[in-house]
């Protein structure tokens, strides 16, 4: 760190020393990049989490790839990814547009919308477990019999309950992203549209949506890649059950490694998780187009 303090004028003209980036890089290499290679290495070993690590060739991979639970976990992950995206994306887009306007009551609502973000996933899951209880929860409370179901015990319903709770927790965050995006759209665009006689719906599709292109990519990427990290919420809410119906890939990895004590197989699942995450992120960036630094304000 002190290398840059006493530098000569020549060094100053070259800009700051790369050493300033070193502490962050060291932390990141040590606890993120090395473990990334570590998980690949461990997938070729046999380890129960306590004893010795033994090289074991491809046997963990054979176990994982032939186990029907893996395929099921991938399918459950894909379903939750898909449904939570199509639920969250439109709601947060509309709420973002809604809260970005200047009315005072909307600003007040925006303050309240944020509250779920303050709760930990464990807290949200525990709250919903109580709330969804068919005898002492929301159903009997509101006197609505259709709400008094065994939401978490019914393997046909539980997936949608998980999607709903995820949306409840994460829509506020994406609403904020969209709100910020909408506030950067120049008002002159809307004024021009109004002079041309465009209605509210027309303005939304002709101005708001195209102008939000990069915000939509950002939010969607975070949503899709983020859905590979839904662990704590599902772990506390359902534990992956009933049966295997909500056993997402990250949860399956945890249970394989730390409950079934098969760290080799769990590492293979971890590698699969990394590959899927990378592939999805690259795909979404490609969809968004490469030249994202080009001005979006042309013609404004």
């Amino acid at each position: 760190m002190s290398t840059s303090t006493g530098s000569s004028r020549r060094v100053l003209e070259k800009g700051p020393s790369g050493w300033l980036a070193a502490p962050a890089l060291v932390f990141f290499l040590l606890f993120a990049i090395i473990p990334l290679f570590g998980v690949l290495f461990l997938s070729f070993t046999k380890w129960d989490g306590l004893g010795e690590i033994k090289l074991d060739g491809l046997s963990s991979w054979t176990t994982v790839l032939t186990d029907p639970v893996t395929g099921n976990a991938l399918w459950v992950t894909a379903k939750i990814m898909f449904f939570s995206f199509i639920v969250q994306a439109p709601i947060s887009l509309l709420l973002g547009v809604f809260t970005s306007a200047s009315q005072k009551y909307r600003a007040a609502l925006a303050v309240l919308y944020f509250v779920p973000l303050l709760l930990s996933s464990a807290a949200v899951a525990i709250a919903y477990k109580a709330l969804l209880d068919p005898n002492f929860g929301l159903g009997p409370g509101l006197g609505l019999p259709f709400l008094a179901q065994d939401w978490l015990g019914n393997s046909d319903l539980v997936l949608f309950v998980v999607v709903f709770v995820i949306a409840w927790q994460f829509v506020p965050f994406h609403t904020l992203i969209y709100q910020g995006g909408v506030r950067q759209i120049p008002a002159s665009l809307y004024e021009a549209a109004q002079i041309d006689g465009a209605g509210r719906v027309q303005q939304f599709f002709a101005i708001t949506l195209p102008q939000l292109k990069y915000t939509i990519i950002t939010s969607s990427t975070l949503m899709v890649v983020g859905s590979l990290a839904y662990f704590d919420l599902v772990f506390v809410l359902t534990g992956g059950g009933p049966g295997y119906s909500t056993r997402l890939l990250p949860l399956h990895m945890y249970l394989t490694g730390f409950k079934a004590n098969d760290m080799g197989a769990a590492s293979a699942l971890g590698v699969i998780l990394v590959v899927i995450g990378l592939a999805l992120a690259l795909l979404l960036q490609r969809l968004g187009g490469k030249n994202r630094n080009a001005s979006q304000l042309e013609g404004a």
Partner: protein, 307 residues
């Protein structure tokens, strides 16, 4: 790699200006950007209030239930306020080492967020102001970290922590939390730092300032909203984190709040009001901070992620 893995980085658009306005006038000030609305939008308003109901009902249920005694919980209507409100559940939770779990969470959060901010800020400064292959490579490495579900690496992290004899210590939670906070922190901070006019740096350099001095006396004051945003965002993530505590700690003396909620749930499983009281107590500190600093927090997060 940079262009393909960059995630939350739409191009900067007049943000230095709009941030300043946001800070001075707050969100209530009349805006000059965004959709102008002159007719009331009833449909939008309806949707807005509906979402509020969806947000509020579970929170209301948790608070109301936490004030009931167990008999009241089993007999009264779940959505009605208790006839005889009681704080006994809160007392029960507080008597079960809540203060210690709270202190553990505080240590881990401060111990992770402050170093993460410091190293990320220095890295962002070097990446934005410096040149060279090393810095480009460093930046790309961080961007890669955004595309990877880092949770996939918990097994090697568990192995490293046990090998370093850090298992079941608070440091075991702090070290990986710092590392996981770095990519998004560097990204947001460097996005903001690019907006600081180059002329300011040049005039300071002519006055004979070193990079170290420019970093603290120019870059830091100019990017303060971003620093606050990143700090809050990381603090929320660490305070509420569950996975690292679950796999890297074990004993009650190193338990943090989210994990304590889960164990309370196991211990008091029949006593739902007490479990929900622990949920309220664990959230209360963040709620207080939010009530005090909501304007800065909302405008900071909005600006930070929409850049």
């Amino acid at each position: 790699m940079a262009s393909t893995t960059q995630i939350p980085a739409p191009p900067a658009r007049r943000t230095a200006l709009s941030n300043k306005q946001g800070r001075k006038q707050g969100p209530r000030a009349k805006r000059t950007k965004g959709p102008g609305r002159f007719r009331p939008n009833y449909l939008g308003g309806l949707g807005g209030w509906l979402w509020l109901a969806i947000i509020i009902v579970p929170i209301y249920y948790v608070v109301v239930t936490s004030l009931k005694n167990q008999a009241g919980f089993f007999t009264s209507n779940p959505m009605m306020p208790p006839t005889e409100p009681t704080l006994d559940n809160y007392k029960l939770v507080l008597d079960n080492d809540f203060a210690m779990y709270f202190a553990n969470s505080l240590i881990v959060t401060v111990g992770s967020v402050v170093p993460a901010l410091l190293v990320s800020f220095m890295a962002a400064y070097a990446i934005v102001r410096g040149k060279g292959r090393f810095l480009t490579w460093t930046n790309n490495t961080f961007l890669l970290g955004l595309a990877i579900p880092l949770h996939a690496t918990i097994i090697p992290i568990y192995w490293m922590i046990t090998k370093a004899h850090l298992y079941d210590t608070l440091l075991a939670l702090i070290l990986p939390s710092i590392a996981f906070a770095i990519p998004i922190s560097v990204l947001i901070l460097s996005n903001f730092m690019r907006d600081v006019p180059n002329e300011l740096f040049e005039s300071m350099r002519l006055d004979g300032c070193s990079d170290w001095a420019m970093m603290w006396r120019l870059a830091l004051p100019m990017t303060r909203p971003a620093v606050v945003t990143v700090g809050i965002y990381n603090a929320l993530g660490v305070w509420n984190g569950f996975l690292f505590p679950l796999i890297l700690t074990q004993s009650p003396s190193t338990r943090v709040l989210p994990l304590s909620l889960w164990t309370f749930q196991g211990e008091f499983s029949v006593n739902i009001p007490a479990v929900l009281a622990s949920v309220v107590l664990a959230t209360l500190p963040l709620l207080v901070i939010y009530v005090v600093a909501r304007r800065q927090l909302l405008s900071g997060l909005t600006a930070g992620f929409s850049k």
